[in-house]
Symmetry: C2
Subunit: 229 residues, 2 copies
Amino acid sequence: MSITYREVKADILRQITQGELAPGSSMPNEVDLAASYGCARATVNRAMRELADDGIIERRRKAGTRVRLNPIRQVRLNIPIVGQEIEELGAAYRYALVHGQAEPAPNWLRARMALKRDDRVLHLTCMHYADGAPYQHEDRWINLGALPEAEQHDFSDIGPNEWLVSTVPFTEAQISFHAVQADATIADYLDCTEGDALFQAERMTWLEGQTITFVQLTYRRGHRLTMQY
Amino acid sequence: MSITYREVKADILRQITQGELAPGSSMPNEVDLAASYGCARATVNRAMRELADDGIIERRRKAGTRVRLNPIRQVRLNIPIVGQEIEELGAAYRYALVHGQAEPAPNWLRARMALKRDDRVLHLTCMHYADGAPYQHEDRWINLGALPEAEQHDFSDIGPNEWLVSTVPFTEAQISFHAVQADATIADYLDCTEGDALFQAERMTWLEGQTITFVQLTYRRGHRLTMQY
DNA sequence: TTTCTCAAAAGATATAGACATAAGGCGTAA
DNA sequence: TTACGCCTTATGTCTATATCTTTTGAGAAA
């Protein structure tokens, strides 16, 4: 076969990284590139589309294609389920339900999850262990108005995250990362000192506009979220 | 025109989210789908390829395509330059170089950056302010073996990040996020209390296998990194 | 039974050609 | 001069067809 779109992509990328195509400079159009590579325009198109997608080049109809002045640095972050995360570390995973209770939503949570005045929530507290050591503390609230079957479910053996993923797999979500100081309770669960800096993720999940669940995931001391790009 | 790949993608996604196609179930092959949508195979292929890329479905030659049991949750995280990040918040950005000095690399850094025994580094400490308030503390080391011109450069006015991005734009990098306790120095710079939990990013950057720079970015108290998916 | 080989199946990609769409730029009219 | 509108151009997408590659499963051989 002739030249592949990967080869075209690699060659263009090489030209850019080696400075043959300067940042900000504009590139030949697809027809000319196809001619010079001796391939079809669709092949060049795919290569260029992926480069644009990677934030390396910028494309506009009629205006043409140019090398980005400041390439967009982006990473893909996989949001793992904690059990898988731990097993990928090569450690044994253990889950424990600490506390589970249906209750009226407290005010701060009502505001945060945009619940109605008399909506009830299922409040779950769980622990996740890696090789027997505390790994993550999970504080979760599930909107029983949106997901009443959660109240009947027994979370002793499988975690709420896994249950939710298999029950309402295709949701919208917002995730945020930040640092918190361990309070006495968390310090106790995670076997650290009160006041320690801990990495925390918060996630809110919607299904068709309805808030399903809000969760705070507090990681053990020293946890890092690492990515390549 | 006929049906677009976006419409095909949207329709398949709808079938999956609405439960017409159950997780784990296998889908018709491209030829059949193209026939049923009344479009070319390439159109279906693009729709399916993007769905696979989004982690919704799983494709294997010969085995066919199936809906993922556990859809991969992934987000794209843009790594912004701090100046842009602050200006996007609608705040005024100010930069200050606190300290800059070329020195032999300390042992811990030599190990971390994989430097040779007598490599020298440029150690820079900078502050980034949003509307006059401390936003981010930057502690950076640049490998002078790989980038000797850094020693001559004056970092008083533009930050090392911006300079690096414009000098060596296309690099490989590893980024990691975690929580740290503010020590006395950092607390002073970021105007917080010693012991406060702070969000910190560490980034190491390579160009063609050579370590270029290592940086610790410590954010002001309460900083959050937020993403939708 | 187990292992190896090979053919078929399904996705992956290339091609040539066509039309669609967005937007820059020029010409014309106010 | 300015504003509007058309024309051109570059990218975006679709079609129809063909070939390539990977993987699986069946059948042959050990």
